[in-house]
Symmetry: C2
C-alpha cells in the first residue's frame, strides 16, 4: 500500500480535492506510483489527510474518469496501466462548459478567462433549498409518477410566459418541449428533421453545436459572420435542396463568439429565405440573451417569424446554474405535429420534481430577481475588464462588448494566435483562441489573430490581476 | 365567459382534476363549448369549484397538451379550432409508461391492468425528502456546477457496486454512463454505434425500444422467442454484416412481454455469436430484474461476457419512481473509448443534485430496503392474481409467472385478441394485447390470442374486483 505524502495548503486557491488530485496525478506521471499499485481507501486517505470522505472520493473520481486510476469493486483503487491513459487527450479537449477547465486540462492556470464559466456566488441557494423543501413537503406523490413527454404543462406555461415577456417569443405552452440540456434537444430535433438534413452554420460558431451536428452525420455548410451577424444573403446562393431539409443554426441576439447582433435587414433576409422552401428551418440558439448591458434588449428572431420557420432553443443552465439540466425548445406547428405523430414515444428527460422546483422559482419572481442581480454583477465585471484593457487598445482591437460573458481582442501586431496563447500561458493565464471556433472547411481569408477573454467565472480582483499579467505577456 | 356546471364527486375514484378534465373535454366534444370560446381562469375556476389552483391548472394543462384548449399568454384559455385536435390519436396511442394510461387514452376504465404501471404507495417519501434536505443543506454549491459528462463519479461507483453485488455485472465506475432515461441512453448509443447499424430484436419485444430503433432508421431483423428466450441459434443464419454493426437487443433475465428467462445454453450461443465479429454487440436491457419472486436471481448476461460484447442498460425509474429520470449504461472498453474520443462533447443529462440524492439513497441502504419491500408487495399482488385466476385455467393457459409485474393469458377457445379486449372493455376493464408487441415484419405462425395482465399499479382489492369482472367477460 502506497503512502501519500501530500501537504494540503488551505490557503491555496485550489480546493482540497483538486490539490489531492493534482498531487496523485503528478506522482503517477513521474512514475512514483507504479502501474497496478494500490492506493489507500478513500476512508483511510480522508482520515490521514483530515478531509471529508467525499473530498477524497472526488479526487479519486477525477483520476478514475481521466484514466489514471482504476477502481475495482470491493477491492480498492489501483494505478492504471499506461494504455489506460488513452483518453487523456480527449479529456483535455473537453469543452470547459463551466467546470474548472484548467483542472480538466490537467494544467494549472492561475487565471482562467473561460467564456463558458459562470458566477455561482450570487445564486440564491437558500431560496432554492426552501422551494425544494416545500415542493417535497406538499402532497406531491404525483410528482414521482411519469410526466408528460413534452414536460409538465405548468412549467411549459411558465416558460412560455417568460419567453413572451422577456424575449418576444410568440408561442403557446403546447409548442414548448422541456429537455435535459441543449445537447439532448438537438438529438431530439435530429429525429424530427429526419435523416436528409443539411445544416448551415455561422463561422466562427459555437464549437459544441458544430461537433454535435457532425456526430449526426449532417453535411455542414458555413456562412461568414461580420459585424451585422451572419451574411444571410449568401443563403440564397446555396444549391437548392431537393427533398431534404436545410436548417440554419444561428445566434441572432448575440453571436458566439463574435458577439455580433444580427441586423434587422439580415433577420428579414433569413426569414425570407426560410419562407421560400417548405423544408427550410431556422434554429435560433438564444443561449445568453439574458445578459445584455447596454441598448435595449434584442427581441428574438422567433418573434418576427410569421411562417412557422423558427425553432427556438434556450437554456436555464447559464442563467441559473449548469447543474439545472433544463433547456427548452419552441417548435413550429409542422414539427410539433411530427413530434406527436412520430416521436411521441420519447419520454421526458427531466424529473417532474425538478420541473416543479424550477417552475416555483420562476413564478415566485426569484428567477427575475436573480437575473437582475447577475446582470449587475456581470456588467460590473464587464466594465472592469473593458476599462482595465485600456492600455491594450494600441496593440489590440477590442470588440464583443454590450452583451454576453466575454470580449474579443484582435492583435494588431501580426502575432499568431498560438503565440498569444503561449505568452499568456507562461504567465499562468488561460485565454481562448478564436480560430478554435472557426468551423469553415474552406480556407478563411486570414484576419488578425483574435483571443477570447471570458469574465463570468472570475472575481473582479482576479480579472484585474489576470489583465496585469496579460499586460506583461502581450504589451 | 363560459360558466362550467361541473359537479365534483369526491367519492369518485377519479381524482378531482381528472373529473374536471373529462367534463370539459366532454363539453368540447359535444360542441357545448365552441371553438374560440374563452374559459374561466384557473384562479376563478379553483375558487368556483373549491379546489386548489394547481388542480385546475392540471386539468387545463391536460386539455392543452391534448389539443382541446389553447393557452394564450396573458389572455387565458380558449377552446381550440378543430384542427387543433390533430394529435388526439397520437396522444391516444402513447405508451402508458406508468402514467394513468386510461386518462391518456381519453377513455375511463374502472380497472387498468397496465404492465407499465407501478406501485408508489410504499415509496419512502420521508426518507427521500430528508436526503434532499440534507444534500442541499451541506455546502454543496459545487453540485450546482457542471458535472462529469458520464455522470458524477460517486454515483457511478455506487451503481457499479450495486450492479456487481445484485446482478453480477462486472464493471468499473468509469465504464458506467448515467443518463436521463433509457430513451436518451439509446440515442447516445446510436452515436457510438454509428450510422451503419442493423438491430436484431426478439419478437414479441418491448414496443418502445422497437419504435426508438425505427426512428433511428436502423433496419430491424426479428428472432422468435420461446420458453427458453430468444432462439439465439438463428443469429448464425443471419447474412454476415460487411463493415456495419450488428447489435442484438435482448432481455435475457425476464423477456418482455413473454416473461421467458433465457437458458444458459442460449446465452452461450449469444456470446459465441457476438465473439465471432468485431462489430457485433449485445444490448442487454435488464429492465425489471429487481422483481423476482421464485427461484434464485438470474445473473446478468454481461457478467458472463469475457469479450467486451455486452452493452448493459438498466434504470431506476421502475425500481424507485418513474420521475427519477436516471438510467445507466455499462459500456465495453471499445465503446467507452469511442465515447471519450468521439462523443466527449455530449454533456450530462442528469442534474448533479439528483445524482447525489440518489447516491445517498442507495449508499444509505434505503434503496435495498425499498426493493425488499416492493418485492414483497408485488409478490403479494402476483400471488393474489395468480390464485384468483384459478377458474381461468380451463379456458386459458397462464404463463410469465415468477418475475416482473405482469402475467400472460393465452386463450384456448380460439377467440381473437380484439374479442377478448372488447369483452373486457365492456366490463370497464383494460387489458393489453400481446400482438401489439409483435414486431416481426414476416407473418407469424398464428398462436392463440394472448392478453397481458399487469398488476403493479393496482391495489389488491382492485386486482380481485378486476378479475371478477374478467370472469363475467371471458368465462
Amino acid at each position: 500500500m502506497y503512502d501519500l505524502a501530500i501537504e494540503l495548503r488551505p490557503e491555496d486557491e485550489r480546493c482540497l480535492y483538486q490539490q489531492i488530485y493534482e498531487y496523485i496525478r503528478q506522482e503517477i506521471r513521474e512514475g512514483k506510483l507504479l502501474q497496478g499499485e494500490r492506493l489507500p481507501s478513500t476512508r483511510s486517505l480522508a482520515q490521514y489527510l483530515q478531509v471529508s470522505r467525499s473530498t477524497a472520493e472526488l479526487a479519486y473520481g477525477q483520476l478514475v474518469s481521466e484514466g489514471y486510476l482504476e477502481a475495482r469493486p470491493c477491492r480498492g483503487y489501483f494505478v492504471c496501466p499506461i494504455e489506460g491513459l488513452f483518453d487523456l487527450k480527449a479529456e483535455g479537449e473537453r469543452e470547459p462548459g463551466g467546470a474548472e477547465p484548467a483542472r480538466k486540462r490537467g494544467e494549472s492556470f492561475r487565471y482562467d478567462f473561460s467564456p463558458f464559466a459562470i458566477d455561482m456566488s450570487a445564486f440564491p441557494f437558500g431560496v432554492w433549498k426552501r422551494i425544494t423543501r416545500e415542493t417535497l413537503s406538499q402532497d406531491n406523490s404525483r410528482l414521482f409518477s411519469q410526466g408528460d413527454a413534452q414536460g409538465d404543462w405548468e412549467l411549459r406555461a411558465t416558460v412560455s410566459r417568460y419567453l413572451h415577456s422577456s424575449r418576444g417569443v410568440n408561442c403557446t405552452p403546447d409548442q414548448i418541449l422541456v429537455g435535459a440540456g441543449n445537447d439532448y434537444l438537438l438529438m431530439l430535433l435530429e429525429k424530427l428533421l429526419g435523416s436528409r438534413v443539411r445544416i448551415v452554420m455561422e463561422s466562427p460558431t459555437y464549437k459544441r453545436a458544430y461537433q454535435i451536428f457532425q456526430s449526426f452525420g449532417y453535411p455542414i455548410t458555413t456562412v461568414e459572420v461580420d459585424r451585422q451577424g451572419m451574411k444571410a444573403g449568401e443563403l440564397f446562393r446555396l444549391a437548392g435542396e431537393r427533398d431534404g431539409v436545410t436548417a440554419v443554426y444561428v445566434m441572432p441576439s448575440h453571436q458566439y463568439p463574435t458577439g455580433a447582433v444580427m441586423s434587422i435587414g439580415r433577420r428579414m433576409e433569413l426569414l425570407k429565405w426560410a419562407s421560400q422552401g417548405e423544408n427550410r428551418y431556422l434554429i435560433e440558439d438564444d443561449y445568453d440573451s439574458e445578459f445584455r448591458y447596454r441598448g435595449k434588449p434584442i427581441p428574438s428572431l422567433q418573434g418576427a417569424d410569421k411562417g412557422g420557420k423558427v425553432i427556438y432553443i434556450g437554456t436555464f443552465s447559464k442563467a441559473i446554474a449548469p447543474a439545472i439540466r433544463v433547456s427548452y425548445m419552441v417548435l413550429p406547428s409542422s414539427l410539433l405535429r411530427r413530434l406527436r405523430e412520430e416521436c411521441y414515444f420519447y419520454s421526458s428527460t427531466v424529473s417532474r420534481i425538478d420541473q416543479r422546483i424550477l417552475d416555483e422559482f420562476i413564478r415566485g419572481g426569484y428567477f427575475e430577481r436573480h437575473l437582475n442581480k447577475m446582470r449587475k454583477l456581470y456588467r460590473g465585471k464587464h466594465d472592469l475588464l473593458l476599462e482595465s484593457l485600456g492600455p491594450f487598445r494600441g496593440d489590440f482591437e477590442i470588440s464583443g462588448e454590450n452583451a454576453g460573458l466575454h470580449l474579443l481582442l484582435a492583435d494588431r501586431r501580426g502575432r499568431s494566435q498560438q503565440e498569444l496563447l503561449t505568452l499568456a500561458k507562461e504567465r499562468g493565464v488561460r485565454v481562448y483562441g478564436m480560430s478554435d471556433n472557426v468551423v469553415a472547411r474552406e480556407p478563411q481569408k486570414r484576419g488578425p489573430a483574435t483571443v477570447i477573454l471570458g469574465y463570468g467565472g472570475l472575481r473582479e480582483e482576479e480579472i484585474a490581476a489576470g489583465v496585469e499579467r496579460l499586460k506583461k505577456a502581450w504589451l
